[in-house]
């Protein structure tokens, strides 16, 4: 007599302890053997930094002598430090690029989602900046932004007034760096939106078209609501990475000129690796983390939790 095993849904499998061989001491040992190398590294390099970093925020620490508990002193010091405030302000200003980058990336994704000849070339072209290191990208744009550089040549060619070196001018430096972030990031979000677009059932759009809906109607009533989960993920990622902006500043301006491009994380970095004030740096890190979480929640609210239907 044969009995077919009852079909179990994945969720149910999960609840009953999942698939696979019986739970025996030996099998448990084997499972942990598979997990162990990963878990050790995870704890040392991911969990421990969160725990020890939080502790360090309440200490004075310079690696050489053991950490000294100072309570909230680091946070008080940050509160009074103008450089920290200007870093924080710049990090918040950086959020300005979030809507720009998201709208552009979505438009580009819609364009490259069309079945056209040679579309693969364009998708790849837009992705080249994404896969290039900030070390290289930063250097290239430093050259492009020179006084007699390519950006100024092109501005002159299209009849705009020529500016000086963008990165040496405190009024333009931050925006020049922001443009590079935008330029490098569009391709990344384009791919995410492309994935989202491909997840929307073409039958739905087709049915609407047959019922006489115009292209904009289809976009606003079907495509965009279907993309809501992707929009949440993308705007969340881009807001958080705006607050934590670091690498482009590290490569292009080192916080200058005259501190005009200090970001919150660049401030933290300088305190740790230039001044060896690890406790102060850790406190800055906690403030950045809290701000990221707040903006994450705001994002979540604005996109209504990214649910597909409003």
């Amino acid at each position: 007599m044969t009995t077919t095993p009852r079909r179990v849904s994945r969720r149910e499998q999960h609840r009953v302890g999942g698939t696979g061989a019986k739970v025996t001491a030996r099998n448990t040992l084997i499972a942990y053997a598979f997990l162990l190398p990963f878990l050790i590294l995870l704890v040392v390099y991911h969990t421990w930094p969160v725990i020890f970093g939080t502790y360090l925020a309440f200490t004075k620490y310079n690696i050489i002598s053991p950490p000294q508990w100072v309570g909230l002193d680091n946070f008080k010091e940050l509160w009074q430090d103008e450089q920290f405030w200007s870093g924080l302000t710049n990090s918040l200003k950086y959020i300005l690029i979030v809507p720009v980058i998201q709208i552009l990336a979505l438009l580009v994704a819609l364009l490259v989602n069309r079945p056209m000849k040679g579309i693969g070339f364009f998708r790849t072209a837009f992705y080249v900046p994404v896969v290039t290191s900030f070390a290289v990208v930063g250097l290239i744009w430093n050259w492009m932004y020179q006084q007699d550089g390519a950006v100024n040549t092109i501005l002159r060619m299209i009849g705009l007034s020529q500016k000086g070196s963008f990165l040496n001018n405190p009024a333009t430096a931050l925006y020049a760096v922001m443009f590079v972030t935008l330029w490098k990031g569009i391709g990344y979000y384009m791919v995410l939106y492309l994935a989202g677009l491909q997840g929307i059932s073409p039958e739905l759009e087709e049915a609407a078209t047959i019922d006489g809906a115009s292209r904009p109607q289809v976009f606003w009533n079907i495509t965009l609501p279907g993309l809501r989960p992707t929009i949440l993920v993308c705007s969340l990622l881009s807001t958080i990475s705006a607050i934590k902006v670091f690498e482009e500043i590290y490569v292009m301006t080192q916080g200058g000129p005259a501190g005009s491009t200090y970001s919150a994380l660049f401030y933290t970095y300088s305190r740790a690796f230039q001044d060896f004030q690890y406790g102060l740096a850790a406190a800055g890190g906690i403030i950045i983390a809290v701000i990221s979480i707040i903006f994450g929640l705001i994002n979540f609210r604005l996109t209504r939790g990214g649910k597909a239907d409003a």
């Binding site: 999960h14 999942g18 696979g20 061989a21 739970v23 499972a31 598979f34 997990l35 990963f38 995870l42 390099y45 991911h46 930094p49 969160v50 020890f52 970093g53 925020a57 690696i63 364009l111 069309r114 056209m116 070339f121 364009f122 998708r123 790849t124 072209a125 837009f126 992705y127 080249v128 896969v131 290039t132 290191s133 070390a135 290289v136 250097l139 290239i140 050259w143 492009m144 020179q146 550089g149 950006v151 092109i154 569009i186 995410l192 019922d211 006489g212 809906a213 115009s214 993920v233 690498e247 590290y250 490569v251 740790a272 690796f273 740096a281 850790a282 890190g285 906690i286 990221s292 979480i293």
Partner: protein, 308 residues
């Protein structure tokens, strides 16, 4: 607003109207295609011109270095030769370092994730769900102090000690790759891929007496190959491009990877940007090669990461 459909009076005029509508649609489609190509070309120019400009300038021996141009004024390999010979740290050494770091990093990261995802997807054992959700939480949890604490950990582990040149080199390569080896994203990608593998296959192998390690190697790995390839490409790009961690940590400039070394050179080479441009071009090429060959997997891997 719905468009009113023209009501045909006679069958004959219906066919004519349909043909006219179709012609109109094709014409409109052609027009939007042309428009789309125009916009796409402009964006592609903005995206690619900085790279193209760096490439052609790196071949120019002299001239106005920074201005925008379409073609190089002259072509020569002098800057490449200078980059190759004229630095305190030999350039081939930077390339070698990058290759070692990438090989070590990609191999170990992929191995660890493919191993760890197996029990999480296909075995039953106490604590499984707890571990899974703990890892999930780590992904959400902020890791701001990562850089600082990992630096302290690296020092405490003695990885930056200097005793013997060969052992020092090995230790420092390890120090560069260790913090990145446990990839949470990779674990999720692979667990997802494993979940799709039919359980019957694994059960049958277990009944035949195959060990779990054999099942992992002979069933799981081959069936998850596309995901593994995508993940490996992602990791290659990440390790090849990483510069910050290595730059913060490595006391020995001879052990810097290419990206980090390039920044070092741009500082010391401030009088000859063309040579640094040559270096930048050399740094980009491997990424473009890997990306060109693995583009299909790469995009899929990213898409999988979003859909989770």
């Amino acid at each position: 607003m719905l468009k009113a459909r023209p009501a045909p009076a006679q069958p004959d005029s219906f066919a004519v109207t349909a043909a006219r509508l179709k012609a109109k649609r094709i014409q409109r489609r052609r027009l939007t295609d042309v428009l789309a190509y125009a916009v796409l070309t402009v964006i592609a120019l903005i995206m690619l011109y900085p790279f193209y400009w760096t490439l052609i300038t790196s071949f120019e021996p002299t001239g106005n270095i920074y201005e925008a141009k379409i073609l190089p004024k002259a072509v020569g390999l002098r800057n490449y030769a200078e980059m190759w010979k004229g630095t305190t740290v030999p350039f081939w050494r930077l390339i070698l370092n990058s290759l070692i770091i990438c090989t070590l990093g990609v191999t170990l990261t992929v191995t660890l994730a493919t191993l760890a995802a197996y029990p999480l997807a296909k075995m039953r054992f106490p604590g499984r769900d707890l571990i899974f959700y703990a890892i999930l939480a780590l992904m959400v949890l902020p890791n701001e102090s990562g850089l600082i604490v990992n630096y302290i950990t690296t020092i405490k582990l003695g990885l930056l000690q200097q005793t013997n040149p060969v052992i020092d080199a090995i230790r420092q390569y390890l120090a560069v790759v260790l913090p990145g080896l446990a990839s949470i994203v990779g674990l999720f990608l692979l667990r997802q891929a494993y979940l799709g593998i039919p359980l019957e296959l694994i059960e049958a192998a277990r009944i035949d007496g195959a060990s779990e390690l054999t099942i992992w190697r002979r069933i799981m790995l081959p069936l998850a190959t596309p995901t593994i390839a995508a993940f490996a490409i992602l990791e290659f790009v990440a390790y090849w491009n990483s510069f910050l961690w290595a730059r913060i940590m490595l006391p020995d400039k001879n052990l810097l990877p290419l990206s980090a070394g390039l920044l070092e050179l741009s500082g010391t080479f401030s009088t000859n940007s063309r040579a640094v441009m040559a270096g930048a071009v050399i740094t980009i090429i491997p990424i473009l090669i890997v990306f060109a060959f693995g583009q299909k997997y790469f995009m899929k891997g990213l898409e999988g990461a979003v859909k989770g």
